[in-house]
């Protein structure tokens, strides 16, 4: 297979060609309330060819792998049609690798019987509570082996082993429906999902507490976010802006995003690191065959770097960072984050709280989105802060801000640190979900707009 793919790439009449073939199997278990909505395995086999010719990209993806020659020719024709100005992608050394993500316990070694029994246990422990109307327990694992070959002679075979689980409780009282969830998902192996009994208790407690909470009042607040939300905040409020595919052919944006420009206080540091083994956003090699690495995005409050594919790196005269990622063989790589986090600072959480006479403490991630200018992210749990103490619980807290201004409003960064993966992920350009890790310490943000009644 290796020689066949390398030979095909070398033979195509283009400036650059790459092939990815993927063989995967995934396991899903899904309880919703008492019903086992889904249990079983899915097999995926497919491939893609991407070529660059005279400045134009062509891409073809297929399930009928035997027809790879036909689709390769199609990709070449499409690249010719795109055309444009010829360019070279940033150089990387040709290399040959076989890689398998190391795991504590391989989920493939655990029987479906045992996985089902575990999910059943979690589901029962949530549903046994009287005021809990319904539940969700999802377990997922996947093994995906991708063979990558390029016309430069690079050949990589990597197997990614993912596993994760999510538990959620739904509490209902009349028209008041509240939900709390907890998820774990990364490349460390199966062990973590066996230890979620406490999480089940926790989501029950949180869902029930939310029934009593009042909706937040619309307004502008000082907000302390927990490490999990800090991660989502960093991802949405800044991370996407550092993806170079938004910048490289956008002259005004390149001016705004000049390296060295101040984006936040001098104690603010934001990093993307695809080389963190085991984390949800771990990228041994990206979908262009470049090893994942560590990139300082903001250093001492100043723009220090950005995330690249080989094309954007070449066009901005910078180095590739290993951030060209595709969620599967069905898509071409685009510039994505990996594990993105705010580095810890100097204010212990207790002190941060004491120094906040009036505000909101927002905990635990529900969702987030950005359009490059504005972003929103939402807390599953939130409390008012009064006189430096966590006070009553509130709900429906969705925060918004302006990407270009919000980082300036960070005025305290905590000493703790926590990274979060999960079952979901990031969406961009029709590719979702991409596994990513987000994280950080507690941090305080001034002047956050929150929608409400």
């Amino acid at each position: 297979m290796k020689n066949k793919l390398l030979e095909l790439c070398a033979r195509l009449p283009v400036d650059y060609a790459e092939v990815r073939l993927q063989d995967g199997v995934s396991t899903n278990i899904h309880y919703a309330g008492r019903e086992l909505e889904d249990i079983g395995e899915r097999i995926e086999r497919g491939g893609c060819v991407r070529v660059l010719k005279d400045g134009g990209w062509g891409f073809a993806t297929f399930n009928d792998v035997d027809d790879i020659e036909k689709y390769a020719r199609m990709a070449v024709r499409q690249a010719e049609l795109v055309g444009g100005q010829k360019f070279d992608i940033a150089p990387v050394d040709a290399h040959q690798q076989v890689y398998r993500t190391p795991v504590d316990t391989d989920p493939a070694d655990v029987s479906l019987v045992d996985k089902q029994a575990m999910c059943h246990r979690y589901n029962q422990s949530i549903l046994k509570h009287e005021r809990i109307q319904s539940s969700v327990v999802v377990y997922r694992d996947s093994h995906a082996t991708t063979r990558f070959a390029s016309s430069e002679g690079t050949y990589i075979e990597q197997e990614i082993i993912f596993s994760g689980a999510m538990v959620a409780a739904i509490a209902v009282e009349g028209a008041n429906v509240q939900r709390a969830r907890e998820a774990k998902g990364d490349l460390r192996g199966f062990e973590k999902v066996t230890r979620m009994d406490e999480d089940c208790e926790d989501v029950v407690r949180r869902a029930l507490e939310s029934l009593e909470a009042e909706p937040v009042e619309a307004g502008t607040y000082t907000v302390i976010v927990d490490p999990e939300l800090c991660g989502v905040f960093v991802h949405e409020a800044f991370g996407h802006l550092s993806e170079a595919d938004f910048l490289y052919e956008n002259p005004r944006m390149r001016e705004i995003m000049q390296l060295g420009k101040r984006f936040g206080p001098d104690f603010l540091n934001i990093t993307d690191d695809g080389s963190l083994e085991g984390e949800a956003g771990f990228v041994p090699f990206d979908s262009e065959g470049v090893a994942g690495g560590r990139t300082a995005l903001i250093k001492d409050g100043v723009l220090a770097g950005r995330l690249h594919s080989r094309e954007t790196a070449a066009k901005m005269d910078e180095r590739p960072t290993g951030n060209a990622r595709a969620i599967s063989y069905r898509h071409p790589p685009i510039v994505r984050m990996t594990n993105t986090f705010m580095e810890p600072g100097e204010t212990p959480f207790e002190q941060m709280l004491q120094e906040t006479p009036d505000g909101i403490y927002a905990v635990s991630w529900l969702g987030g989105q950005t359009n490059k200018e504005m972003f929103t992210f939402s807390a599953e749990e939130a409390y008012r802060i009064r006189d430096g103490e966590v006070a009553e619980k509130i709900r429906d807290v969705v925060l918004t801000g302006n990407v270009f201004q919000t980082l300036q409003n960070i005025d305290r960064i905590g000493t703790d640190f926590h990274m979060v993966g999960g079952l979901g992920g990031c969406g961009k350009g029709g590719q979702s979900p991409l596994r990513v890790g987000d994280g950080g310490p507690h941090c305080r943000i001034q002047n956050v707009v929150i929608g409400g009644r």
């Binding site: 909505e37 497919g46 993806t61 008041n176 944006m253 989105q369």
Partner: protein, 438 residues
Amino acid sequence: MSDRIAEQVLQAACRRFDAAEVFEEAGETVSVRFEDSRLKEIRTQQRRGVGLRVIGEGRIGFASTTDLREPQRLVEQAGASAAFGDEARFEMPGRPAEVPHVATCDGAMEDVSAEQMVEMGREGLEMSRRANEDYLFACHLTRAAHRQRVLNTAGLDFAYESSRMSASVEVEEVRDDGLLQVYEYRTWSRPFDSVSDLTRTALEKARDAAAVAPTRLEAMPMVFTPKALGNLWYPIETALNGKLVHKGSSVLRGRIDEQVLDPRITITDNPTIDWAPGSCPLDDEGVVARRRPLFEAGVLRTYLADLQTAGLLGIDPTGHGFRSYSSRPSPSSTNTVVEPGDTSFDEMLAGMKRGLVIEHTLGSGQSNILAGEFSVNVALGFLVEGGEVQGRVKDCMVAGNVYEILGQVEAIGSERQWFGSTWAPPIMVGGLKLAARG
């Protein structure tokens, strides 16, 4: 590649199980992508996959694959799944007495070449350049052909083809105080030959958004355009899902034939509209797809159910079991049709002393959907005073409960637009609070 794969899988499965059903789909999509005012990429996506659902000893099992070399492995996996599966509360349907006719496939779609789509995009790009040299233009054009087939041990063997063309146009301007992004989108089962109308609309809106109108925390009437209406509709559609009704987590449980929305609101699920994106003759389980009122004059009439959900709820299947080859059927709507009212868009604006027209939002789906809550950033919204657009609002949010908002609306527009598979007029509501700094 054998074209008899579905039969092979079914034959192997029926030797082992009481009932079995194969869902096979295959399709090809060609797409052309302009970004940053330049043609960047052309893409072909071929896909083909098979899903097998079985009922063994009364329990449901499921497996899927795109690796068609080993049909037997699929049967084994479905068996492993059925060992744990939920009790089947339905019987697979045979061939219906009559298959409704609805147009879903236009043979002319195959003739749409990548070259033609490139030309369409170039025309839009030129319009954008003429309007403003600084605008960055993006356009994504696709044409798709899709074939699906469902066959089961009850004698159903039904296949149909569908075609689809979609185009999105985005105009972006980067300014010192941020970004302006305007997008327009269309999808239809017949080919179209230009994006100039989409581009023109986007350019008009970009011009209206040139000024930024100052805002503060205030309550004001708001018009949700068809594009923004999803914010209000999505929580209700979720609550109509028969699965959530059965589990007790839908606030619409037990409320059939109750007044839920404003009596002026009538919403129908209609899969029988020729060429519409959500149309189909049968659903993906072989149940005849029919037009069904969801809300008649604000009164709840039906939930959305697939076969298993209908069985659990003790109702007749509604023809809303949809899936891909790799998923089990689950309830989903077809085309959502909102009846128009009698207020023109201009009359709506004229009637607002100070109000907001919401075009796009950011961050939907993050709030408590089950409770009917929404809370979104107004990504593109126009402040209107005395019927005149004052400019765009920025950095603000709108939140509320959709049942309260649609329980009593101010006005329903007289002109409808398709957006995705929704055909709806603009709707004006009162009493919502705009959260903004200042």
